[in-house]
Amino acid sequence: MSYQYTLKVEDIYRTYFMGEERVRALQGISVQIKHGEYVSLMGPSGSGKTTFFNCVGGLDQPTKGRVYIDEVDIAKLDAYELAWLRCRKIGYIFQTFNLIPNLTAFENVEMPAIFAKKPREFRQQKVKEVLTLVGLGDRMNHRPAQLSGGQQQRVAIARSLVNDPAIILADEPTGNLDLETGLEIITLLRNLNSEKGTTVLTATHDLKMIDVSDRIIWIDDGKIKRIETIHNIKVTLAVDDGACEDPKIGGDQ
């Protein structure tokens, strides 16, 4: 079943303490993402991207505000329901790949399907299907240490897809990759979005992501600065209003 908004975020705040210092990581962010959209959350390091990602992914609780995934308010879920949501509704991709080092590519991808209690035959078929889809049909029995960074990220993408989630959340998916491999991963994510209709939200400061995104949400200091569509942003760059000249954007690259 497909809902109008796969992700709806209403005025979320996240405040935490670092020692004595109070950090306002998110200060009233509201976003609505439709089914099948590819949205990039752009901003410099420390702008609140990962905190936002954690809050919408059910990995952290916002201090205030609401997050709905497929119209389910995740603040109302107990630990069991949250685990189910992470397993079935959300696919996570991380900058550091986060594969289980002792398991093969096949076993890593199979994990979420095991937790989702999918039958063994179904799992075998589905895992092969998604690994082939990301171009790793011949690397299924390799462990992460035997794969390149780009291949590890492909395994992570396959793992995020195995339970057909409502949304894929990718936190800096190209952050640990070279330019060319990063571009391959971006293209792969975009193709999955266009061909399978998977909703994708990436948190990134990689400007290459602009070309493939339906919308770009620029955040800084925990607040949304502006939201642009792919069409707008090309115009914006052409008139050189400094959108890409901001020294803080891409500062970590």
Partner: protein
């Protein structure tokens, strides 16, 4: 039938068979780390078994020595050192693997799944270390006796005690497994309660 929770969503699953398979795989792949954990337990168990075997043999050849009673204090110290050592190792192990725990959580594990996986790993370490430690303990116990008493008479007595020595090795293995699992409970429980975002930050 799958148990449903408040919103009618099924619980995520991690069967005992799968957890055992993953735990065994983790043990096999992380031999170096397991060896470091295991050495402490092997030493502790072999120390305890050595004391038992040695005092049994000395008591046989010199019944007025009363060595078993004298060494009971050392036995208790050995047990305590073993538990403290393993607990410390498990805290370090869990700390190093908190990123992995965070990843498991993003895939849909419940705290009970994390506990299951880590306790099975501890159980395997306990069994393997227990077998090895008990055998080493028996050999050292006999070796120490041979330093003081005649070879033939010692070995002749050992031959009559094979059943007891077999039980001692089984007992040592069971004791090791129990000690390691008990020592792991606190660190593993702590790991299972981690906030996923916090755990992922430690990668």
């Amino acid at each position: 039938m799958t148990k449903l929770n408040r919103l009618g969503l099924p619980k995520t699953q991690y069967s005992t068979n799968t957890a055992l398979r993953h735990a065994w795989k983790n043990i096999r792949q992380r031999k170096g780390r397991v060896l470091i954990n295991g050495v402490g337990i092997i030493l502790g168990i072999s120390f305890i078994i050595t004391l038992i075997v040695y005092s049994m043999l000395v008591d046989h050849f010199d019944p007025i020595s009363n060595i078993a009673r004298e060494q009971s204090y050392l036995l208790v110290v050995g047990l305590i050192l073993c538990v403290v050592g393993v607990t410390n190792s498990m805290f370090m192990e869990v700390g190093q693997r908190s990123g992995e725990i965070g990843t498991y959580m993003t895939l849909g594990t419940l705290p009970s799944h994390v506990i299951k996986l880590f306790l099975f790993e501890s159980l395997f370490i306990g069994i393997l270390s227990g077998i090895l430690g008990s055998i080493i303990g028996v050999l050292i116990g006999i070796g120490l006796t041979l330093l003081e008493f005649n070879y033939e008479s010692t070995m002749a007595f050992v031959d009559t005690q094979t059943e007891f020595i077999g039980l001692l090795i089984i007992g040592g293995t069971v004791l090791s497994s129990i000690l390691v699992v008990l020592a792991s409970i606190l660190p593993v429980y702590g790991a299972s309660r981690l906030n996923p975002a916090e755990a992922l930050r430690k990668i």
